[in-house]
Each structure stands twice: as structure tokens, then as C-alpha cells.
Symmetry: C2
């Protein structure tokens, strides 16, 4: 007889893997990789250590998986913001606005960006983390530069605009917000810096 459900043979899981990974990411997000113990991860996910280990491997593998997922989400969100209807300024406002919301999300203190706030510290001596950081940076750069190139072609930017340099500046600008939000800067300050960066780029005149 064919099975109606594909439920596997043994005892069912007491947790949802995606949700558990998100909770573990939240724990790492707050305390960093080295600063978060397996006990805290178990408490955050509601799982006990052996289940964590069976589901995700060791602490580092769990962290790397959370990091990869976050990177993919960041890049997908950036692509979506750049493809949204409206001109360059509207796209950038959406992009920076979503970023600020993410950096200030959560109940307690602002945690900034998960990647920037936790992976940089662990990067020295860890090629896997370095690779994820590299993909995050270059992925963001290229998506921003592509959108700026389109704006240049459509006349929203000067014909001689250096879209690579502008892409780097905007990328650095949003990462600056990630850092400063984690350092405790209030939303109004973050929004002011974002507004300044967007206005600067969208009011350029030809040299």
C-alpha cells in the first residue's frame, strides 16, 4: 500500500527545523558565536543538546548554516528592493528603510546586522566565514551597481557617473547603519544618515 503521508518511520520531531534555526540565529545575533553557549542555544530553540547536535551538527555548523541563510535572505531582499516599481530614489528608500527596520527589530536592544555584527569577529583564521562575508559584500555591491547602471542608462544619473564607486559607497553606507544601530544609535539618527546618502546619490550632476 502506498503511504498517504511521507512521515518517516520513527518518533516525530518535537521542533520545526526552520524555526529552531531562526531561534539559534537570534541567540548568536545577540551574543556572537564565541559568546553564545550550547546551553543558551538549547534554551533559545527549546531543544536539548543532543537534538541540536543530531539536527545541525556541532556549534560551528549551526552557526554557518544560520549565516548562509541570512546572507541569502539579504541578497534576495536587495534584489527585490532594486527591482521594485519606482525610480532609483524610491528603490534606495525601500532598501535603506528595510535595512533599518531589520537592524532595530526585536524586543530588546538593537542588534544591527547578523552578518556584520557576528561574523567579522570570527573571520580571522576561518576561511568558511570569510567566504560568506565575501559573497555578502560582492553580492550587495553588484546588485547596487546594476541598479545604478540602469539609472545611468535611463538618465537618472549623470552619464559619467562611476557606478562601481557609488555602489561601494551605498553598500558601505548601509553597513555603517548596521554598525551604528548595534552601537546604540537611535532610529532618527540612522534615518538621517540614510536620507543624506540617498539624497547625495540621487542629486548628482555631471562633472
Amino acid at each position: 500500500m502506498v503511504h498517504k503521508s511521507e512521515r518517516p518511520r520513527g518518533r516525530p520531531r518535537a521542533y520545526d527545523p526552520d524555526q529552531a534555526l531562526a531561534r539559534a540565529r537570534d541567540a548568536f545575533w545577540q551574543g556572537g558565536f564565541s559568546g553564545t553557549s550550547l546551553d543558551e542555544l538549547a534554551a533559545a530553540t527549546g531543544m536539548n543538546r543532543p537534538s541540536l547536535y543530531a539536527a545541525f551538527g556541532d556549534k560551528r555548523a549551526l552557526y554557518l548554516e544560520a549565516l548562509r541563510r541570512t546572507k541569502d535572505g539579504l541578497l534576495a531582499g536587495t534584489s527585490a528592493a532594486m527591482a521594485a516599481p519606482g525610480g532609483l530614489k524610491a528603490n534606495l528608500e525601500l532598501f535603506f528603510g528595510k535595512a533599518i527596520d531589520a537592524y532595530l527589530a526585536g524586543d530588546g536592544e538593537a542588534r544591527g546586522c547578523f552578518v556584520i555584527g557576528t561574523a567579522l569577529t570570527e573571520a580571522v583564521g576561518d576561511p568558511d566565514i570569510k567566504a560568506i562575508l565575501h559573497e555578502t559584500f560582492t553580492g550587495l555591491d553588484s546588485r547596487l551597481a546594476e541598479r545604478l547602471e540602469r539609472a545611468r542608462a535611463e538618465g537618472e544619473l549623470p552619464a559619467d557617473a562611476d557606478v562601481e564607486a557609488l555602489g561601494y559607497l551605498l553598500s558601505a553606507a548601509v553597513h555603517g547603519l548596521a554598525m551604528r544601530s548595534r552601537a546604540g544609535e537611535p532610529r532618527e539618527a540612522l534615518e538621517g544618515w540614510a536620507r543624506g546618502a540617498i539624497n547625495h546619490v540621487t542629486s548628482l550632476r555631471r562633472a
Copy 2:
């Protein structure tokens, strides 16, 4: 009789406090605060744990002292670069060049900026670290904005240039280099981004 030397009464120290603090900073710089043990700090400084404890207090106090000194040095170096002879472009080239040299310094892998690379992770829940981060960011912003304002007054920048926004962008640009160097980007890439940012700012025309 008046003492010829001011050497205190007891057994002399076997270490130089400034040098020990610098070595401890280097250890933290590589592994972060949580990722660096007292054993590693003792090995790096050549001191044993009780001497470390007597000299600097506990691990956190040692880290905070290293962080404060680094922040003060960063701000002093920025002031110096902005006051160096030459125009805006020369000052910015000096500023970015010194930053890149510092980010790539050391024998092994690049470690980026000590403050950015280690304090961000520890900032959540730690008001002291947040305060040092805040002083670092605002100190850098204001020094850059001051120099840009002078350039504007001297005609090197358009009269309607938003020096606050440009100061934030340049600050974010150099912090971007700090992040990317720690992520493993080669010197040539860092220099390219720096050149793009400097050229962009120093070739602005009035809107």
C-alpha cells in the same frame, strides 16, 4: 635625601605596561573578546595571570582599556591626516592609506580595525562598549565633516555640498575597508574602493 630615581619600593616589574597592553590588544584583535582566553593573553604578554590581574583588573577591564586607547589613537590619527599639508584630496589619500596599512598590518592574516572587528560583537548589553563605539563614530564623523567644511569654504567642494552627509559617507567608506580587509579582500581591492570614494568626493560639481 631626595631620591635620584622615582622607582617604587618593591620588586620591579618584569614587563612594560604599555607594551603588555599592546600585546594583549593584538591577541584580542585576532580572536575577539569572548574568543580570547586569559591563557592566550598571558602567553601574548609574557605575563602570568596573577600579574595580568594585578596590572589591569579582570579580562573585561583589560579589553576596555585596549579599546579606549585604540579609539584615542584612531581619532588622533584622523585629526593629523586632516591637518596635514595639501588639499582635500591629499588629506583623504593620507587618511585612507594609513587606514589600509593598519588594517593589513601584522604577520599573518589581515585583521582589519580592532574596534570594528571586535567591539561590535560585544556591544549588545554592554553600555561601556557602546559608549566607546559611539565616541569612535562621532569623533570620526566630526573630524571628516570639519575638513570637508574647510574644503567647501576654500572652494574645493561645491558651495551647496552637504558636508555632514559626505562625512558620513567617507566614514562609512573607511569602515567598509575595515570590514572587507578582515574578510580577506586583497590590498588592491581595498585601494580601488578607497580611490573610488576619494575621486567621487573630490570631483563633485554643484547641483
